[in-house]
């Protein structure tokens, strides 16, 4: 929920206060109209504090619209400028604007809207300059109070701000607004929310009858219109609105059509207010509503202290600097990047130093350990070569006595056996493969002979093992006829084919 804020119209004889919060409609909580004509200016703060305390005002922040002093308003149309350029231009323009003899002056500006003229982007800027004592008076009013003064503006700007919220603007039509405040009348000429011209007319009704007052006011308004038309000859002035505190409002509205040639009305904005939380006297509030126009316009801001004119010293520049400015953003980003780079650079060099120190240390350690490892590798290589060499020498030196081996085999071969071939292979394990066959009178004899041969071969000490890769094959064959034996059985023989593998050590 938005914070409550006080909108104060500060005049020489009256202080009008409203307590509101910002919304689609302005939510009004409380109001006060303080008559300070007979109060010592030094005690006005005391009076204000007392009234607000008694009436139960809860707000902590305040905005003041002040009048009564010298202030000037000017609408400028300028191309987009940087903050620095804008400040320079506004300072120059405010000096031009200041009335002669104004010793100390404060100024502020507000960019109202952006439009294009002949394809060129231009900003409408409201520049306000005011004499410093006027602003100081407003500051002093709240200096001894519990309220924080966020913004000081002028009564015309406050009224214009109210109009922006409560009026539907007709395109290109100029509206004349007459606001009565204290001992003066503020005459405003506004078009689509932009203040084209503002005049403050001193008017002291003391000693005048109503008719005379009315006539004098009409004359002042005619002069103002003439002045406006001289400055804005193309403008279409269509309507006049009256607001503020004056008993002649109704009479002026009635005469405006005839005397000024403009349709007149009292400024109505009751429908734009949310009074659901209002806790004061409703009838009294309605009675004073036209005179509270400037106070309500003062407070009706989305961002109090930032939006609109702020004559408090230094606030306008701060507002501009707080806005989104690409140059400013770029500069800030550049600074952030530079800081980041600086921090990264420092971190980089510090860590780099550490890493370099570690790397040097490791290089030194490696220089010590590498020769040791190389020596170890050489030793291992020599050891391995020596082992292999020893094994080779052993292998070459261990001669198999082939003569003895073949002779031993010849001793155990049965007379019935025939070797087809004998093969020695020097693989991982040297071995002799013997293929052959036995021929015997019968299968029994053949197998017996082979068995005897195989057993004898296995028993030879020069073989590590003897095996048969495949079993023997026994076949019968016709033996050549033996002289003297005529029987058919005697003419048959058995053949035992074998293959034996003998592994050498």
């Amino acid at each position: 929920m938005a914070n409550r804020i006080l909108g104060i119209e500060y005049g020489a004889d009256r202080i009008k206060v409203v307590e509101v919060t910002f919304g689609r409609k302005l939510k009004v909580f409380n109001f006060a109209v303080i008559d300070n004509r007979n109060v010592d200016p030094a005690r006005r703060t005391e009076q204000l504090n007392h009234t607000l305390q008694v009436r139960g005002f809860d707000a902590k922040d305040a905005i003041i619209a002040t009048g009564g002093g010298n202030s000037e308003h000017r609408l400028l149309t300028l191309p987009p400028l940087s903050t620095r350029e804008m400040h320079f231009v506004m300072q120059r323009e405010s000096k031009k604007l200041a009335p002669a003899g104004m010793a100390e002056m404060v100024w502020s500006y507000d960019v109202l809207k952006t439009k294009e003229e002949l394809g060129i982007k231009k900003n409408q800027i409201l520049l306000v300059s005011a004499e410093r004592p006027m602003v100081d008076a407003a500051r002093n009013l709240l200096s001894q109070s519990r309220f924080k003064l966020l913004q000081v503006t002028t009564i015309p700007e406050a009224v214009l701000n109210l109009l922006r919220h409560v009026i539907v603007w007709k395109k290109d039509a100029v509206r004349m607004v007459v606001h009565f405040a204290a001992n003066g009348v503020h005459v405003l000429f506004a078009q689509e929310g932009a203040l084209l011209l503002s005049r403050e007319v001193r008017f002291d009704p003391a000693g005048m009858d109503p008719e005379e007052q009315s006539q004098r006011l009409i004359n002042e308004l005619k002069r103002s219109m003439l002045y406006f038309r001289q400055n804005f000859p193309q403008a279409q002035l269509e309507q006049i609105n009256f607001s503020g505190e004056n008993d002649l409002l109704a009479a002026l509205v009635a005469r405006s059509s005839e005397e000024l040639g403009l349709e007149g009305s009292i400024l109505r904005f009751e429908e734009s207010l949310d009074t659901s939380a209002f806790r004061g006297n409703w009838d009294e509030f309605r009675f004073h509503l036209p005179s509270l126009a400037a106070a309500l316009g003062t407070a009706w801001r989305k961002t109090p202290g930032t939006s609109g004119i702020n004559l408090l010293p230094g606030k306008t520049q701060a507002k501009q600097e707080a806005g989104i400015n690409p140059t400013k953003i770029a500069r800030a980003a550049l600074m952030v990047a530079a800081v980041l780079l600086l921090v990264t650079g420092l971190y980089y060099f510090r860590e780099r130093g550490r890493l370099d120190a570690t790397r040097r240390d490791l290089t030194q350690r490696a220089a010590v350990v590498d020769p040791k490892l190389q020596q170890m590798q050489e030793s291992e290589s020599k050891r391995s070569t020596a082992e292999q060499r020893a094994e080779f020498l052993k292998r070459i030196g261990a001669h198999t006595d082939w003569t003895e081996l073949f002779r031993n085999i010849s001793f155990i071969v049965p007379s019935t056996a025939v070797f087809e071939d004998l093969k020695l292979e020097s693989a991982d394990t040297p071995k002799i493969t013997i293929r052959g066959y036995l021929i015997a009178a019968s299968a029994v004899e053949g197998n017996t002979d082979f068995n005897r041969f195989y057993s004898a071969l296995s028993a030879l000490p020069m073989f590590k093992s003897v095996s048969m890769p495949k079993p023997t094959v026994v076949s019968s064959l016709d033996a050549p006829p033996t002289p003297g034996k005529l029987s058919a059985a005697a003419m048959q023989a058995s053949k035992v084919t074998f293959e034996v593998v003998c592994e050498l050590p």
Binding site: L334, A337, A338, L340, L341, T344, G345, Y347, Y348, E351, R352, L355, T358, R359, L362, R365, A366, V369, D370, K372, L373, Q375, M376, S379, K382, R383, S384, T385, A386, Q388, R389, A390, E391, F392, L393, R395, I396, H399, T400, D401, W402, T403, E404, L405, F406, R407, S410, V418, F419, E420, D421, L422, K423, L424, E425, S426, A427, D428
Partner: protein, 169 residues
């Protein structure tokens, strides 16, 4: 500037990773170096003796004709018939040792050998004596293949033997 900062951080990260790898490598090497056992003087002398022994045993280039003469003389003495000999110089590529036998040979530091193929005929007893006598020569000989086939009246023999050679000086 942001790119430069990013580049610095990236470079730092790369260097840090490289130093970490170097540290791990050095620590691993230091651990290995702790277990280094240098060869003893006894081992060293034993290896030297072995090397000398092998060097004297291997067949030098100059001794090849003499070796062939010895073989043929033994063949004649043992009545070997129709002897034919063919020899081929073989160099073992250390990275491409074809058989386990070759790998063992190259590991012992021998890179050359002669593959001698002999074909001949003879009686069983003569062949046996011939093979035995050749093997008994004081030469680094290893029978690779001996194949005897029955023939009439002689046995047909095919012998392939490896004769290991000394490295040319």
């Amino acid at each position: 500037m942001l790119v430069l900062a990013g580049g610095l951080l990236y470079s730092l990260n790369s260097s840090s990773a490289a130093v970490t790898r170097l540290k791990q490598d050095v620590e691993r090497k230091e651990k290995q170096a702790k277990d280094v056992r240098p060869p003893t003087a006894e081992e060293q002398s034993q290896w030297d003796a072995q090397e000398t022994q092998l060097g004297s045993l291997l067949l030098s280039e100059q001794a090849v004709p003499q070796f062939f003469e010895e073989v043929t003389r033994i063949a004649t003495e043992n009545s070997i018939q129709r002897l034919s000999m063919n020899s081929e110089e073989v160099m073992i590529d250390p990275s491409k040792a074809a058989t386990a036998d070759e790998a063992r040979v190259i590991a012992a530091g021998i890179k050359h050998y002669l593959a001698v193929t002999m074909k001949f005929q003879g009686q069983y007893a003569d062949v046996a004596r011939f093979l035995g006598s050749v093997a008994k020569l004081d030469r680094p000989i290893q029978y690779h293949l001996v194949e005897l086939k029955r023939g009439v009246p002689y046995i047909e023999a095919l012998v392939v033997m490896n004769v290991y050679k000394r490295e040319p000086a």
